[in-house]
C-alpha cells in the first residue's frame, strides 16, 4: 500500500479526534475517510466500509435539495472543492443508509498544499436544525499549567493547515488567537509570526468587520464569536480592513473546535477571498 500524502494523514488523524463530522475524499472523489462523529449522520461505520470508490459511496449516501432532487454536480461541495478549488458552504438533505434524513449544513474545502498538490477535499457537516451540544471546558490540570502545550487536536490542526492554501484561523477556548496559517497572511496583511497574544475582542476592534453595505457587524454576530460562544457553526460574508490598510471582502465559516470527549478547545475559521 503506497503511503498517503502527509496532509491526508494529518487530516485523517485530526478528524478522528474531532467531534465535528468530517469526510475526506481524494481528487477523484473516492472516499478516503469519515470520522466517528459522522457515523450517526451517515448511518455507516468507517471500520466496516473502509475506503470506497466515488460511485459506490455516492450510491450509499444520497444527498439532495430540499425537494428531494439530486444536488446538481456543479453545486456539490466536494466537486466545487476538488474541480474548482473553491470552498463552498451550503445546505443539503442527507439520506443516510439507516433510512433517516438529516438536514445538514456543509462546508467543503480543497486540500491543496502550499507545494501545489491537489490532494482532494474535506467536508465538515453538522445538523442544521438541531440545537448545538454544549461541550465541556478542556481539563487543564492546575499544576501542569507551567509546562503544558496545546492539546493534540490544536497541534494537528496547525500542522495540517500550515501546509494548505486555505486561509484558516484558530482561537482557543479563552478567546486568544492561537494561530492563522501562512495562507491567511495575505488576507490579514501580516504574517502570524511576530504577532503577540491577541484576544478575539482586540482582534475584532482592529479589523472592524462590516457588512457589504458598510454596516458594522456586531461582535456577537461574527462567525468566530458565534462558534466560540454558541457552540455552533456560522457563515457570513463581510468586509474588513487588513493590517496593511487594504480593504477586502471575504466569506467565512467558523465552527467550534470540539475535541475528544466533547472538550471545548476553541473555534476554527476558514475564510476565502470573495473577490479573488
Amino acid at each position: 500500500m503506497a503511503p498517503r500524502p502527509l496532509e491526508i494523514i494529518l487530516a485523517r488523524q485530526l478528524a478522528s479526534y474531532l467531534a465535528v463530522p468530517i469526510l475526506i475524499v481524494d481528487p477523484e472523489l473516492n472516499l478516503l475517510f469519515f470520522n466517528e462523529s459522522a457515523e450517526p449522520l451517515l448511518g455507516l461505520r468507517f471500520d466496516e466500509t473502509g475506503e470506497m470508490k466515488g460511485t459506490e459511496w455516492n450510491d450509499l449516501i444520497r444527498r439532495t435539495e430540499a425537494n428531494g432532487d439530486p444536488i446538481a454536480r456543479e453545486h456539490q461541495a466536494l466537486v466545487r472543492a476538488v474541480e474548482h478549488n473553491e470552498p463552498t458552504q451550503r445546505r443539503s438533505w442527507l439520506h443516510a443508509l439507516d433510512g433517516t434524513t438529516h438536514v445538514v449544513d456543509v462546508l467543503g474545502f480543497p486540500l491543496e498544499t502550499t507545494a501545489g498538490g491537489m490532494l482532494g477535499a474535506a467536508v465538515a457537516f453538522w445538523e442544521a436544525e438541531k440545537p448545538a451540544a454544549v461541550p465541556v471546558p478542556a481539563e487543564v490540570p492546575a499544576k501542569h499549567l507551567f509546562h503544558s502545550g496545546h492539546p493534540v487536536e490544536v497541534i494537528l490542526l496547525r500542522r495540517l493547515f500550515d501546509r494548505l492554501t486555505m486561509p484558516t484561523f484558530a482561537i482557543g477556548a479563552d478567546g486568544q488567537l492561537l494561530f492563522y496559517n501562512p495562507a491567511a497572511a495575505p488576507l490579514i496583511g501580516r504574517n502570524f509570526e511576530g504577532l503577540g497574544a491577541v484576544e478575539i475582542r482586540e482582534w475584532y476592534a482592529v479589523l472592524q468587520p462590516k457588512d457589504a453595505d458598510g454596516t458594522p457587524i456586531a461582535r456577537e454576530h461574527h462567525p468566530m464569536y458565534v462558534a466560540l460562544n454558541e457552540f455552533r457553526p456560522d457563515f457570513r460574508q463581510f468586509q474588513f480592513e487588513g493590517l496593511d490598510g487594504v480593504s477586502r471582502t471575504v466569506a467565512g465559516v467558523a465552527f467550534p473546535l470540539v475535541g475528544q470527549c466533547q472538550r471545548m478547545l476553541g473555534a476554527v475559521g476558514i475564510f476565502w477571498d470573495e473577490i479573488a
Binding site: 494523514i9 494529518l10 479526534y17 474531532l18 466517528e36 465541556v136 490540570p141 492539546p151 475528544q260 470527549c261
Partner: protein, 283 residues
C-alpha cells in the same frame, strides 16, 4: 517508585531465541509505589505474568491503558486479578468521540474474539475515561493523562510520587507533520507531559531508515525519541515498543551506537524484566 517492564514489544508478541533479551511480550509496565500501590500500564501479553506475580498480594489494582490497539489489550483476558471477586480492578483508558470506554473494550472482551464478556468478570470492576478526567490520584501517585499523536484515541501518562516523575509514551509519533522538535515547544504533542521527567519510556519502534516509509503509523525512531527527550529536558530515556522483526542483536547495536554518539540523555535499555527506580526506592 519502581518501574518494571513486563512487556516491551510492539504490534505483536514475538517470542524466540532472537528476542530473548529485549523480550517478546507486548506492552505492559508495572509501577510500584513506596506504599506498594500497584499501577499497571497497558495490558499487552506481558500482563499475564505480572498478574500471576501480584494476585495474592493486592486487593486493588489500577490498569491504565494508553489506547485499545490489540498489542496493548491482548493480555486483559489473562490477567488473574480479573477473576478474583475479592479484588478491586480499575480500568482507565480513552473513550472515542462516539463510544464510551466500556463499549470499546467490549468489542474485544466478548465472543467471538474472547469467550468471557467484560461485564461478566468476577472482580469488582470500575472503568474510567481518562480524557475527560485529565488528572487524578491513585494512592500515592498523581497521574496525568494527555492525548498524544497516534492513530485513534491514544493517551500518554505522567506519574509523580513525592516529586519524582515518570512518563509513559509507548506509541507516539510527535514528529508527524513537524519540521523539527525545536521550533515551538507548545506545538509538540506530549512535550508538556514529558517536561523534565526523571524517566521517560518512549516509542522507538523504527530505525531511522524505516521511518520514512512508515510516516503516519504512529511510531518513532530512536533518533526521534532522543530528540524529543532532549527537547523535554528528560533525564533518562528507555527505548520501548520494539518492532517484532528487530532482533536483540539489532536493537543492541542501535542502542550502543546511540550511547556512543553522546545523545545528551541517559539512554537505558528497554529489556523485558528490567526495573528502574525513580525517586525513593521501594522495599
Amino acid at each position: 517508585m519502581k518501574v518494571t517492564l513486563w512487556g516491551t514489544r510492539g504490534s505483536m508478541a514475538s517470542p524466540g531465541p532472537e528476542t530473548n533479551r529485549y523480550g517478546g511480550n507486548t506492552s505492559c509496565v508495572e509501577v510500584r509505589g513506596v506504599d506498594r500501590t500497584v499501577l499497571v500500564l497497558d495490558a499487552g501479553t506481558g500482563i499475564r505474568r505480572l498478574g500471576d506475580a501480584i494476585v495474592e498480594e493486592i486487593r486493588r489494582v489500577d490498569v491504565l491503558l494508553t489506547h485499545l490497539h490489540m498489542d496493548h489489550i491482548q493480555g486483559l483476558g489473562f490477567f488473574e486479578p480479573f477473576f478474583r471477586p475479592d479484588i478491586e480492578v480499575h480500568l482507565w483508558g480513552p473513550s472515542s468521540t462516539g463510544l464510551q470506554l466500556q463499549e470499546r473494550l467490549s468489542r474485544y472482551m466478548s465472543p467471538p474474539l474472547f469467550p468471557v464478556r467484560l461485564r461478566d468478570l468476577p472482580c469488582q470492576l470500575t472503568l474510567h475515561d481518562v480524557v475527560s478526567i485529565g488528572s487524578f490520584e491513585i494512592g500515592p501517585f498523581d497521574v496525568e493523562a494527555e492525548l498524544v499523536c497516534h492513530p485513534g484515541p491514544t493517551v500518554g501518562y505522567r506519574i509523580e510520587e513525592d516529586g519524582a516523575s515518570f512518563v509513559y509514551l509507548p506509541d507516539h509519533e510527535p514528529i508527524l507533520g513537524a519540521e523539527d522538535f525545536f521550533g515551538d515547544p507548545e506545538y509538540i504533542p506530549g512535550l508538556g507531559l514529558a517536561r523534565d521527567a526523571d524517566l521517560l519510556i518512549h516509542d522507538t519502534m523504527f530505525t531511522a531508515e524505516e521511518y520514512p516509509s512508515h510516516v503516519g503509523w504512529g511510531h518513532s525512531s530512536l533518533d526521534q525519541a532522543l530528540a524529543f527527550a532532549r527537547a523535554a529536558g528528560v533525564r533518562q530515556l528507555v527505548n520501548f515498543h520494539h518492532d517484532p522483526g528487530h532482533t536483540d542483536t539489532e536493537l543492541e547495536r542501535r542502542v550502543e551506537h546511540a550511547i556512543a554518539s553522546d545523545p545528551g540523555v541517559e539512554l537505558l535499555r528497554g529489556l523485558e524484566g528490567a526495573s528502574f527506580t525513580v525517586g525513593a526506592a521501594v522495599a
